[in-house]
Symmetry: C2
Subunit: 402 residues, 2 copies
Amino acid sequence: MGDAAHTTRLEIGDVPVGLDPDAGSAGIVRTKRVTFDEPGRTLELEGGGRLWPVTIAYETYGTLNEARDNAVMVFHALSGDAHVAGRHSANERRAGWWDMLIGPGKALDTDKYFVVCANVIGGCGGSTGPSSIDPASGRPYGTDFPMITIHDMVEAHLLLLDHLGIEKLLAAVGGSMGGMQVLDLAVSHPERVHLAVPMATAARQPTQAIAFNEVGRQAIMADPDWRGGHYYGGKPPIKGLAVARMIGHITYLSDEAMEEKFGRRLQDIHDYTFTFNPDFEVESYLHHQGLAFTNRFDANTYLYITRALDYFDLSRRQGSLVSAFRDVRARFLVLSFSSDWLHPPYQLKEIVGALRATHKHVSYYEVTTRFGHDAFLLERDKMEGVISAFLTSGARSYARSV
Amino acid sequence: MGDAAHTTRLEIGDVPVGLDPDAGSAGIVRTKRVTFDEPGRTLELEGGGRLWPVTIAYETYGTLNEARDNAVMVFHALSGDAHVAGRHSANERRAGWWDMLIGPGKALDTDKYFVVCANVIGGCGGSTGPSSIDPASGRPYGTDFPMITIHDMVEAHLLLLDHLGIEKLLAAVGGSMGGMQVLDLAVSHPERVHLAVPMATAARQPTQAIAFNEVGRQAIMADPDWRGGHYYGGKPPIKGLAVARMIGHITYLSDEAMEEKFGRRLQDIHDYTFTFNPDFEVESYLHHQGLAFTNRFDANTYLYITRALDYFDLSRRQGSLVSAFRDVRARFLVLSFSSDWLHPPYQLKEIVGALRATHKHVSYYEVTTRFGHDAFLLERDKMEGVISAFLTSGARSYARSV
């Protein structure tokens, strides 16, 4: 399998040719971990379960000022982790997943802000998840891990913020699942966030996204190597996970972007092979993405996190989105992406409409792009100024609000 | 698993409440088979292979007139078969898959036209396919079946038309993969078709559709029960095939139709179960569709037919669609469906544009619908008049053209 199809994609954190890789870099960072294990405490989960102890893996960039009013938390999406910017070593090939926006002089300017990013619970990037040791059994949780929700992820993040001494975030920023966490935080803890920047997301998981996620889960659970979720120490269900990831990748790109990037181009061959081999570049790309994912991601985490996404519905408890937003105090910047068909602009406009109906402070901006859902990870130039200006003016209003 | 989610969908051939099930019915029909096995002959395939003998399963409705100028062939899509109208017995629950448009007085009026529908080669509805006996080994072909293309399907259909004594079709009609066969026939055998009605299709398989198909194939081939395609006599790869079918179903519905049909409604429960069970109706619907499909469809056929779809590219040989259409003699009615995101209207307009560039007779009609790709199987009222009028006026020009 050649590389042509893979290098045509601008991967997150790749340094575009001609740019100084160190310009604006957050520098060398490391992932830290904190474990909350005080006896007698626990994390009560929305689904009725409990989780304790809770380990959170996180990274920070910049410095928390004395007033502790310059903290910006970035919330990651399904396949993300705490490594959002900078590099773990000088020769790490790729920087963190949103490096393009985080660093000295960038939109999330680490000379001004103290940027925090943490792996969600249920994840596989160092925070407590299905692959962690279950204290009850002394072996990995597997599917004994309790069901978690977007709200539970937020509650766990708050343990970290307390630990870091951050009472109120200057800003909560996130795309896709990260955006759902931003929304949940602003609704469930209005006093803990001043600015909210949800992007490429929705106030409730749309039906079509539930459908795609369910197919991905079925692919994983159909893999005999899944073994009911207790595969640790043995062969993981890589075939099922690869299929799930391939489905996901299709939903992250637009039809148009796929036509442009791959079209019907063949992969290192001059004519159809008339076999089931990956003749087309797009097939090779998907195989590559599927396989690469299995090297870094845990199949059970995929199950738990997609389920959390599907359960997300801000209006569920209070009957309507307008009611859910009633006590919100944060100022919002809502970003949508024109060719995103996983979370099309109308889903972001729903959020904006409900915020306006409750007279909240909200700005809306639609980025014109061909990159589909992935655009929030790629369109630096189109997002930088908008986010940067919102944070700068928000920092002033934060000062007044305290 | 309850039935609520399944009955909300108008299934093809279901009789809407209040309608006389026999009104306009093509009546009781049976699937016939013809086997072409003359020694010394063979079907040379585009991919270099050969197939012989060739059995074609087909149904006919109405009567071929003496002039043999009233034959209308309907070409089926991926999961279709020869049973396009009427019922196999009085108590068959569902009529044929396009019964809504075929019968006395309907758009494809069986009082006037002799309607033919045949299962494609590679299929599993009675025509020679991977589950047929390979004369070379005496056991089912499995993946020893030669690769077939849309063009090969058309060549096999012509064996049937020759057998039936039909030199020139009055009309070739088909949606999705059926539309590709219509296009191929009009291009490769201009003298054999007077009217062409491709709908919900494209002149070349789009990239995104290749991507979805490849994921479906990977799901099937990842199923250990697939056993390299030689599973006949044992357990078939139903889990993989179900996943493939679920993916397909999502692409057949629009985002909007999914929201309307299922939204976030729960399936026979009052609250989330916080498990991986199908809490949502849309999940239950997909499970049902996936499972039902495995009872009637062969996994290898899914592989071969999706590959044929992906290889389809009318412009491949002649460099451009305009060149490909140069010798076309058929008059076209091209139908698109507004919410179809598998084959959006722009793909149909591409066909129309190329036909117009070569000064062919072409009409274009976009059906406004919320049903997505499936609309061509559902929107009877919006299609009936257009198709009926096109066939009626075409029958007059056919008479003049002979």
